[in-house]
C-alpha cells in the first residue's frame, strides 16, 4: 500500500497578517512534515456572530468551511482575529472536530498576556503556531494528552499555551506517524 502525503491549506478568515499565516504554514511543514499552502481569504459567515456575546460561534464557521469543499487539501486550518466560542463554553483559542477536515485558530486572545500586557510579536506567532498545530492534531485524530509539555495537552488559559511545547510527546508522535502512514 502506498501512502499519499497529506496537504494542509491555511486560510485567512478576514483580515489576518500575512506573516502570521506564513509562520503557521511553516510550523506545519516543519513539525508535521506536511505540505502547506496559504489560500485566498474569505469572510466568516454573518450568522456566526452571536450579537449578545459579541463572539463568533466556531461550530458555524467550521460548517461553512466544510461546505466550501477544499478538494485540493486534506485538512484546512482557518485563522481569524475574532473572539471564538463554542456553545456552553465562554471562549476557545481554537476548535476542530476529531478527525474532521476543517479547524480554526483565533488570534484574539493570543495577543494579550494573562496580566493584560502585550507580548512581543514572536510570542504571539509561537502561540498561534501551537494552537494551529494542536487543532490540526485533532483533525488528524490525535486526542488530548496527559503529558504536560506535549502539544496535544489541553490548554485552558494563555499561560498553559505558553507552557506546552511545539513538539508532540513520544506517544503522540508515534500515533501521528501511524495516522500519516
Amino acid at each position: 500500500m502506498t501512502s499519499k502525503k497529506k496537504s494542509v491549506g491555511v486560510v485567512p478568515l478576514g483580515d489576518v497578517p500575512e506573516i502570521t499565516l506564513q509562520v503557521i504554514a511553516d510550523h506545519i511543514t516543519g513539525c508535521f512534515k506536511l505540505t502547506t499552502q496559504i489560500l485566498p481569504p474569505f469572510e466568516p459567515p454573518d450568522d456566526a456572530l452571536d450579537e449578545r456575546q459579541l463572539q463568533y460561534n466556531a461550530g458555524i464557521i467550521i460548517e461553512a468551511m466544510e461546505a466550501m469543499h477544499f478538494a485540493n487539501h486534506d485538512k484546512v486550518i482557518g485563522v481569524l482575529n475574532k473572539d471564538l466560542f463554542i456553545p456552553i463554553f465562554t471562549h476557545v483559542f481554537g476548535e476542530a472536530r476529531q478527525g474532521g477536515q476543517c479547524g480554526l485558530v483565533s488570534l484574539f486572545r493570543l495577543e494579550k498576556n494573562p496580566d493584560g500586557s502585550t507580548p512581543p510579536k514572536s510570542i504571539i506567532h509561537e502561540r498561534a503556531a501551537k494552537v494551529a498545530l494542536h487543532e490540526l492534531g485533532h483533525l488528524l485524530d490525535l486526542l488530548h494528552c496527559e503529558h504536560r509539555k506535549c502539544l496535544m495537552h489541553f490548554s485552558g488559559g494563555i499561560d498553559e499555551v505558553d507552557e506546552i511545547s511545539l513538539d508532540l510527546c513520544e506517544y503522540c508522535s508515534i500515533y501521528l506517524q501511524d495516522k500519516l502512514r
Binding site: 456552553i88 463554553f89 465562554t90 488530548h144 489541553f154
Partner: protein, 449 residues
Amino acid sequence: MDKKMSIMVVDDEEIVRESLFHWFKKYGHVVETASSGFEALEKLETYPFQLLFVDIKMPGMDGIELLEKVKTEYPDTIVVIITAYGSIESAVKAMRIGATDYLLKPFKPDQLSLVMERISVQERLVSQYNYLKERLGKITRFDNIIGHSPEIEKVFSLIPEVAQSDASILLVGETGTGKELVAKAIHAESRRSHLPFIAINCGAMPESLLESELFGHQKGVFTGATRARKGFLEVVSGGTLFLDEIGEISPKMQINLLRVLEEREITSIGSREPVEVDFRLISATCKNLEKAVAAGTFREDFYYRVNVIMIEIPPLRKRKDDIPLLVEHFLKKYRQETTKHVDYVTRDAMELLRRYDWPGNVRELENAIERAVVLSKSRTLGVEDLSFIRPPDLQFSKTLSLREMEKVYIQQILEENNWNVTQSAEVLEINRVTLHKMMKRYRLERPEG
C-alpha cells in the same frame, strides 16, 4: 485525566449536546447524548454509563427528577449538573440529592477540565476503596460466606474460635445453607490449613463404596480392585476430613468410624496392618440427629464423638437481611462469568426476593440469580426476570394468624392475576367490592413500575 470514561450528555438543546459530545471525544471518552430524561433512562438500561452531564432545565422530566431516578436505580453513576446562573438554588438541591458537581453555564473550558480531574481522582479513590473493602471482606468474612445479619455474625464469630482446637465439629443446617463453606473456612483458619481438605458426601454413595473410599483397600480383595488404593482417612494425612450428610451412614460404618476416632488408626480392606491416621473431623447434617438417636437409627456414642462442638447454620429465611448482600455478590460473580452488564436489581424485584422463603437456601438464591442474569436483556433485573420464583406461596406456617394468611393469599391471587381486581375476585369467588374492601383493609396496593 488518563482514564477513559463512558459519558452521556443529557440536554434538550442539540447545540449543547453537540459541543460537549465533540469536546469529550477529544479525550477519547465513549460519549453518547440524550435529548430528554426519558431517553437517558432508556439508554442507561442498556449501557452502564459512568458519568452523566445533565442540564437542570429540560421539558418533561427535569434534571433534578432524572438525578433522583438515576441515584435510586444506578447509585454508582456519577452525575454532574449543568445549570444557568439563575437556577443556582436548584444546583444546591442537586448536590444534596447526590450530584457530584455542577457547572454554571457558560463555563470556561478549563472549568470543565477541573471537574473531570476531580471526578478522575474520586473514581480512583472509589476503585481503591472497593478493592481494599473486598480484600478486607475476604480476610474477615471467610471468603464466600456472605452476610452481616446477627445470625450469620454468630457463625462468623465461632469459626476462628473452634478452628484452633482439634475437637470434632457437627454443622447442622438445611440443604443449601453453606455447610461446606463453613467447614472450609474452619479448615482455612486452623493450623491444618496447609494440609488437605477432603469432602465426602456420605449420602451419595452405598456403604461398600464409602467404606472403600474412606479406608482404602488391598489389591484383589473384591472384583474390580485391580490395585491397592489408600483411603481418604489416610490420604487426608494431617488435614481436615469433611463428611457431609453424616446422618445417612449405616450403623456398621458408624462403628467403624467410631473406632477410628477413638484409636486414631485404620486398617484398609483386605489388610491386617493398622496405619496411624491424623485428621480433624467436621461432619454435617440436615437431619435432627438427636431424634435419630432416640429412634435408634444413629448410635449415641458415635453422635457424641462427632458432636463435640455443634454449629447451627441458619436457613436463609431466618436471615433475610442478608439477601441484598448475597444478591450483590452473585450478580458480581455471574457478571464476571457471563460478561453481561447486569448491575442492579429493582426495588420491586428485591422485595420479591426478600418475600420468598428460599427452601433451597443460599444455593437456590444463587441459582435464581444466575438464571436471571443469563436470560436478562437489560442491565437491571426486574420482577419479570424473576417470574420463575413463586412467592409467597401459601405459608401454612405456625407463625401466621388467620388474618395474616388471608392477606398473603389475597396478595398471591392478585399477583397471579396481574392485580386485575375483577379476575382476582372471580378466582376468590367474592365480588369486586368485597375484594376492594379487603385490599383497603390489608393495605394491598399494586407495586409501582
